[in-house]
């Protein structure tokens, strides 16, 4: 167990590699209750969030989920978020914003002054009233869908629905952070243990297991997904981070839009790349990336041994001039200063892992 953003979080249950492999081969359960959950009710919720996010929220259909960035005026990333438009069984609609645990207080502080411009909107922090469980892996949907009242196996990717499990409300979202298919569930906090144990019980015969933060990190790294504080920060914009797809820049205005348009047109100074370090020794966050003349050209943002590829993998931010913008691959030989040892590394397109279709 380790403290993280005010929560006691399990790094691992039985071991990172076993948990990682369960997620890739069958399914794994993650307690992600630390993620911040902010609910927006009232007329104007979509307009408020549209003003704050790099993706269009106005006109987001009921049941749709979007990945986007909340940026400052310079285009620096305050957080990467999921926004959903949901409808309760009684017919009322609201928006739900899922934010990183470590950014929750900052995001609430950032949004609060904007609420003054939208007097009909209320923001409520649902994080401590609810719990969030991710069930991820190739068998997650088929095995767990029958636990829910709605036919959640019919949900498309990036869609969500409010339904019931054993008569209790649950938000089921076909999203995740592992590169696998699966669901993310939000339930009342006092229902969390029951839901967790039920999922483990029905999954047991299929080899489902609980997985901790360690496996969550190696899974998302293989899937080439950024993690706030590593590939994203207030000093890194979404274009540099390779998240141009999550920025709708045409025909709308939002905080940071001008900076992002400028960076998008001129090209970023640094870009995120994937690296395969030679040999067995893992490279870690913070190691310098060196160019052909041993000059520093960037830094490792995340690095770990990949349980799927059975070798070290890493992501790095490097000088954009070295990288082919079409392929996302560096055109020069790179080495990594791994605590004094200069370790050659091959630049490869992200992600490292694609789930089989």
């Amino acid at each position: 167990m380790a403290p993280f953003a005010g929560f006691q979080m399990p790094i691992q249950y039985q071991g990172i590699v076993a948990e990682h492999q369960a997620c890739r081969s069958t399914a794994a359960l993650f307690d992600v209750s630390h993620m911040g959950r902010l609910r927006f009710d009232g007329e104007g919720s979509a307009e408020l969030l549209d003003h704050l996010l790099s993706r269009r929220v106005i006109g987001l259909p009921i049941g749709a989920v979007r990945y986007g960035l909340m940026c400052n005026a310079e285009g620096g990333v305050l957080d990467d978020v999921l926004v959903s438009h949901l409808q309760t069984p009684s017919g009322s609609q609201y928006h739900l914003l899922v934010v990183n645990a470590s950014n929750r207080a900052k995001i609430i502080r950032w949004i609060t002054p904007h609420l003054a411009d939208f007097s009909t909107v209320t923001m409520s922090d649902r994080t401590e009233l609810t719990a969030m469980i991710a069930i991820q892996g190739p068998r997650a949907v088929e095995v767990t869908a029958r636990l829910f009242r709605a036919h959640v196996d019919q949900l498309k990717r990036y869609r969500a629905v409010i339904t019931e499990q054993f008569g209790k409300p649950v938000i089921v979202s076909r999203t995740g952070y592992t590169g696998e298919d699966g669901f993310e569930l939000i339930v009342r906090a006092d229902e969390a243990l029951r839901v967790w144990e039920n999922l483990l019980l029905v999954g047991r015969e299929y080899g489902f297991c609980a997985a901790g933060l360690g496996a969550r990190d190696t899974l998302r790294l293989e899937a080439g997904m950024p993690l706030y504080g590593h590939e994203l920060s207030e000093q890194i914009d979404p274009i540099s981070a390779g998240l141009r797809f999550a920025c709708t820049l045409d025909g709308r205005s939002f905080i940071g839009d001008e900076a992002l348009r400028r960076i998008s047109e001129q090209g970023p100074e640094q870009v995120r790349i994937g690296l395969l370090p030679e040999g067995k020794r893992p490279v870690r966050e913070g190691c310098k990336v060196l160019g052909p003349n041993d000059e520093p050209v960037g830094w490792i943002t995340s690095g770990a041994p990949s349980p799927t590829l059975q070798r070290p993998i890493a992501m790095a931010m490097v000088d954009a001039a070295l990288v082919d913008r079409t392929t996302g691959v560096a055109q020069v030989d790179l080495r990594i200063d791994n605590r004094g040892h200069h370790q050659p590394a091959t630049s490869v397109p992200l992600p490292f892992y694609h789930r089989p279709l």
Partner: protein, 133 residues
């Protein structure tokens, strides 16, 4: 003959030590405990020193990496490294299976026995692990 973990000494940093008389010298065989290996899980890399290096108790002599983190290895004794188990980094699965015999890491010829009194008995080490776990 298999080493009995109950008869070994332990550093607080989880290295085990087996002291034996070899001629006029006392030689410490050093490894890492089953508890440490279990806590690290998923070992992927080990970096070891060269024979001939002189170490003092508490010096970092190498490192072991798991999927999640790098952990330094500390010498529990003072002396000169006279043997290194150089196959071990390629055989980390076997280290996990057999940390006390196959999994030996270094042999150090003691230059002083002053530091040995700082080491823990098996019972005291188990107690420390129980408190940590």
């Amino acid at each position: 003959m298999a080493r009995n973990p109950a008869n070994l000494l332990y550093a607080k940093s989880h290295e085990w030590v087996d002291i034996a008389q070899e001629g006029d010298d006392k030689v410490a065989t050093i490894g890492i405990s089953a508890f440490a290996i279990e806590q690290l899980t998923d070992l992927v890399y080990m970096d070891l020193p060269a024979v001939g290096k002189v170490v003092a108790a508490g010096d970092e002599f190498g490192e072991v990496e798991s999927v999640k983190a790098v952990s330094p290895l500390y010498s529990p004794v003072d002396g000169e490294i006279i043997a290194v188990h150089s196959d071990l980094p390629e055989r980390l699965d076997e280290l996990k299976e057999d940390p006390y015999d196959f999994g030996w890491i270094l042999k150090v010829r003691l230059s002083s026995e002053a530091g040995l009194s700082q080491l823990l008995s098996h019972a005291d080490y188990e107690q420390q692990c129980g408190e940590a776990g």
